[in-house]
Every structure is written in C-alpha cells, then in structure tokens.
Amino acid sequence: MDISFDLTVAWAVLLVLSVFIYVVLDGFDLGVGILFSAFHERRERDVLMNSVAPVWDGNETWLILGGGGLFAAFPLAYAIIMPALYAPIIAMLLALIFRGVAFEARWRTERAKKWWDRGFIAGSVVAAFAQGVALGALLQGIEVEGRAYAGGWYDWLSWFSVITGLALVAGYGLLGATWLVMKTDGDIQEKARSLAWGFGIATVGFIVVVSAFTPFLEASYAQRWFEMPGILLAAPVPLAIAAMAVLMFRSLAIHKHEYRPFVLALLLFALCFAGLGISMYPFIIPTEVTIWDAATPWISQIFMFVGAVILIPIILAYTGYAYWVFRGKIDPEKGYH
C-alpha cells in the first residue's frame, strides 16, 4: 500500500512535469504564431517561422504525452475531463492541425501563402485560448456523478474560463516575444521587445485577476491560500511572482538583456504552475476526484514507471541537444532570398 501511495504521487509529478514542459515549449511557439499578426513583412515572418521551425513538432509531442499520460496514469480523470472540456479540447486539436500544416504549406505556395499565414495566426490564437479555457473550466469545477461527467456540453463556458483563456493568450504572447528577443536581432528584436512589454503587462494583469478570483471558486482553495498551514506554502508564491515580474521588466527595458527575459518569463510560468498546484492538490478534478481516486492500479503504474524513468531522461537529453544545436540568432539572410 505504501508503494502504491508513492507511485501515485510520482505519476502526478511526472504528469505535471510533462504538461509544464509542453506549456513552456509549445507556449513560446504558439506565442510566435500569435505575434505573427504584428509582423507584416515577408522577411520578418520568415525569420519568425524559422525561429521555431526546428522544434515545434517535437514540442507538440509533449502534448501527446500529456494526453496519453493522463489516460494511462489517471484513466478516471481522463474519462471525466475529456467529455467535460469537450468543446475547448476539440477546438484546440483542430487549431493545432491547421497551424501545424500551415507551417509547411506556406513554404510550398506563393498564391495561397497569405491564407496559410492567416491560418497559422488563427490556429495559434485559438489553440492558446482553448487551452486557457480548459484550464479555467477545470479550476471552476466539473460536475461528477459516480464515475462520469454529469454536466452539460457548454458548462465549460463562464466568464472565468474566458478570462483564463485570454490570460493564456497573453502569457504565450509573452513567451513568444521574449523568445524572439533572444533569437533575433535588429529591428525584429526591437519590435519583439516592445511586444514583450505589452504582453508582459497583460500577463501580469491577468495573473492578478485570476489569482484574486480563484480562491472564491471553491472553499478548499480559500482554505489553502488563507489558512494555516497552507498559507505557509502559498504566501511566498505571489511575492515571488511579483519579484519575478519586476526583474523581467527591468531586464527587458533597462538592462536590455537578450536571454534573461525569456528565462524570467519561464520562471513566471513555473511559479503560476506552482500556485495552481497549491490550489488543486490533492485533487485532479477539484473537490471531486483526488489523484488517488483516479490513479490506475499499482500493476499499471509500476509497469509504466520503469519505462518512464529510463526513457524520459533520454528524451530530455536529445531534446536539449536539439535546442543546443539551434542556439544563437536566426540569420534573416538564411532560409530565403
């Protein structure tokens, strides 16, 4: 029994880790797609595209691991969450398909290029928004009866989930802009820097709004955030977020750093993730289903765990290597004439 307890937590950690890796990796490349609308010249757009070209497909493999991992490790949660968030999930999938193919198609046609560019922007925005909506809908609670979703098919839609949707669009825009500050130079970098300001302010604003309302969605959230002992863990998070935001803006505007804003934006995301974890733990579907309720039996956990602890480090190693190979600025003279 002790062992199964540990493995459930271990799987929760592994799953959160893969979702986090997905969010920051695909976050900046969806962000670049969102920012595409602010760059109009062909030269600029080609540079933007090339900055994420080598890695976007691998980034989205983490989304498959997120979905597949939830299914494998917490099948009950997967079975409840997917129908509950049906519309945003389907919208996200369709948007990702459109965007993924637009990536390739725009290079293969002159006539339809602008349409694929529009598809790329729309796909990126819709995918980011749908992911944010899904997060908000999960946070605000899902109606469960027995082992199944019991709500209607648009229960996911609320003012709160729309705000979290917009928040993620802003957040991904920030990641994308700081990514471009790191990967480009000259006028594109300057533009990205000012975009990073705008999206940064929007992101921080949304963090404040979402954080202010979250504790009132469920009594257990408020308990965690405002009462002992939860407050010991929770209180430092907003302070750290505030500090991180200040550092990021100073780095962007005063020091004119190139790499640091992106790293600080990643840390900002990590802290928000920690805040979400503090609110939700130990629930995987807030106040209805805990990670232990939803966990797959021990024999399935251990079978996968052996593979995961061997394979995930290898995957991280070669993913890291791929990023290392592509380090440095994108040369605007390369990849087009």
Partner: protein, 479 residues
Amino acid sequence: MLSSFDPVILARIQFAFTVSFHFLFPAFSIGLASFLAVLNGLYLKTKNEAYLRLFQFWVKIFAIGFAMGVVSGITMSYQFGTNWSVFSDVAGPVIGPLMAYEVLTAFFLEAGFLGIMLFGRDRVGPTLHMVAVLAVAVGTAISATWILSVNSWMHTPQGFEVAENGQYIPTDWLEVIFTPSFPYRLAHTLTAAYLTTAFIVGGVGAWHLLKGRRDNPGVRTMFSMAMWMAALVAPLQIVLGDMHGLNTLEYQPQKVMAMEGHYESHPDGAPLYLFGIPDDENQELDYAIGIPKLSSLILKHHLDAPLAGLDTIPDDEQPPVSIVFWSFRIMVGLGFLMLGVGMFSLWARFRGSLFTNKWLHRFALAMAPSGLVAVIAGWVTTEVGRQPYTVYNMLRTTDSVSPLGAPAVGTSLMFFILVYFIVFGAGTFYILRLMAHAPEAGEPGLTKADGPVRTAGITPGVEEDPERFLHPEETTEER
C-alpha cells in the same frame, strides 16, 4: 436538427473518420521509412547515384506525410476520452500503459531522429545519417507494434480481471501484450503498410514511364523495386490474410460469419459467396451468388466441414453484416488485383518489357492508391466486425460512449470533416505535385528553403536555392 441523431452513432462516425484519416498517413510512412532505409543502404553500399536520387526524391514526400501523421495523431490521443470516456475509464489500466509506451519508445524516437534523416547527411556523416534513417524506420514499426497490441487486446482480451469499480485490472502484462490475435494482426497490417507504399511508389514510377522518362535511372529503379515488392509480397499478404482469418474464426466467429455472409448454418459444407445483398432484418443474403462448399474448404480445409452461421448468434450480438461483407470483399478484391499486377510485372520482366509495356504501366498507375483503400477496407472489416463490442464480449459500444449530447458531437464532427478536407487536401496536393516531377540527377533533398518540414531536428539544414523548390517545374526540365 442535430439533436435528433443518435449520439452513439455520431461518436462512432467521428472516431471512424479521425482514425481512418490518421491511419492513411502511417500506413504510407511505415513502408516509406523502410523503403528510404533500403535506398540509403543500397546507395552507401553500391554508390549508385540512382539510389541517392530516389532517396532525395522520396524523403521530401515522406516529410509531408509524416507531419500530417503527427498532427492527425495528436487528435487520436484525445479522441478516446472525448468520445469513449467510459471505455477509457474501464479499459484505461490495461491499454493506457501500452499507449504511453508507444509515445515514449516510438514518437519521441521518430521526432528526435527525423531532423538528422531529413537534413543531416552532410552534417553528421554517412554512418550516423544511416543510423538516423534506420531509427526513424524502426520507430514507425515500434509505434505500429504497440498500437496493434492495444487493438488486438480489444479483439481478443486476456490477462486481466474485473475490479469492484468496474475497471479491468491487468494480471499479466505478457498476456495483455501478446494476445492470440496480435501476431497475425501485426504481420498482416505491417505487410499491408509495405504493400501500400510499394503500390504508391510503383504508381509514381509508372506515371513517369508513361510520360516517356524511360531513360531516367531513378524512374526505372523505383518501378522495378516496386514491382518486385508487388510480385513477392502480394502473395505473401494473401497467405497472411488467410491465417489472420482462421485466427478470427477461432476467436471471433461472428465476424467471419458476417464477412462470409453466412446468416444460416451449413452443417455439410458452406458456400463461398462472391456476391449478395445482406439483409439484417430478415437475416438472409439476397441475390446470392456463391461457389458451393468453398468457404468450408478455405476456413476448415475440408469440403464438407460444418460451419455455423449467424442463426446461432443472438441478434443483439451480431455485427452489421452488410458493411463487413462489402468492406471484406473490397479488401480481398484489391488484394487479388495486386497479385495480378505482381504476376503481370513478372511476365513483363522476363519478356524484357518491364519498362516498355504500357498496359502494365497503366495498370500499376490505376492501382497506385489501392493499398490505401485496401487498408481502410480491412480496418473497417475488423473494427465493424467486432461490433456491438469495443472490448470483445466484455464491453458494448453503447456502454462505452461519453455522456455527450448529439449537438456537441455532431457540431464537432462537421468541423473535423471541414478542417481535415482543407488541411489534408492541401497536403495531399503538395505531395502529388512533388510526385509529378521526375527524380533528377543531383536531386535536391530537403533544404532550409523548403521551410520547416522537420520535427525536433537535431541538425540544421544546408542552404540551397529556394527557387528550386518554389518552382520545381522550371528547374527540373526533362532531360
């Protein structure tokens, strides 16, 4: 309007649509990855330029097909939960881990090495490049192995027990992975993927031969290699299919009854129906044309062997006969036509007219998409033949479905159809355009100018003139 539809039917149509669409790309890329590995290996061994030329020609097509397989595959990892949530909850402990292993062992492997395969020949040297090509080919096969293990378990489930909460709990992983139908299904499906690719390659070769590019060594080599595959693998596939059928007869008899159109039991030798209109309502095959006793001979290897019919199966445990009956005939018919191409090519080859026989080329061109059609027909046969169950004899399809209303499923289905046709229609158009120009000497591979057709690539591409790609028709004139 949509609320008058049955949500279970809509969920099934949606799943069938997304999974069939997805399946087309792996069916093509599994075989193509191996073909590319063979081409690259032959080039390294013989230094014959034709092989390199073909590798560069097909690797561009592979890149697009692979990318479309990836994006349509992301959908699949969510469709289980969105459409079949009860199935996901109940069967998740058994099949979830197998699918997680597919992601960890296959998807990341392919994503990691695709970059080197596409762009890395000059960067990492021929040996490491060959390793990458092999890694991608092996990755596609590993992926197929895991997912077919999952699928086989749904047909012939074993190695688990039912827990109090209704979930299936694995008791023996080896039994779960290696179910009785798994080896046959794996062999039949992988061979189908190789045949599918062979006929596409052969069709492209035939098209260029018909265009008079007989002196292009790339065209000759690809057509010749594809026709060897057709001649050798099509008969093998018929044997494998027969073995798979016998296995199905043993474990899922009502599927075979539906395939054969046997509503009635035949105590002394069952006929092989070539044609008929299945009528589930009255449980009879109208306008049947059959060869007496042949079905018993094929399935039992004895002319007078008794074969039970659907009259021994309660109505609510029968699959819909007409779909299975017809999809099976389409698959088998195409299989024998493939054999016909193979035999025709052997005859032409020994007559020395392999590259000049226009009728052979027309036949091969017409058969280019036959593998894709046969794969889908076979898939429909086995999946619809498992109905009314998702997990055979354990869990009914009507009990597997998500608690969603018809408007939600119907609306998303329309969006799926719309987006898939636009997006994959465009992708297929670009693939056909690549196929339409002949593989030339010094054929460029993928270059950075081709844009970002690459997965988590490890090496950056070499620079090349993008005009070459943007206007291939101008730079690849007939010689």
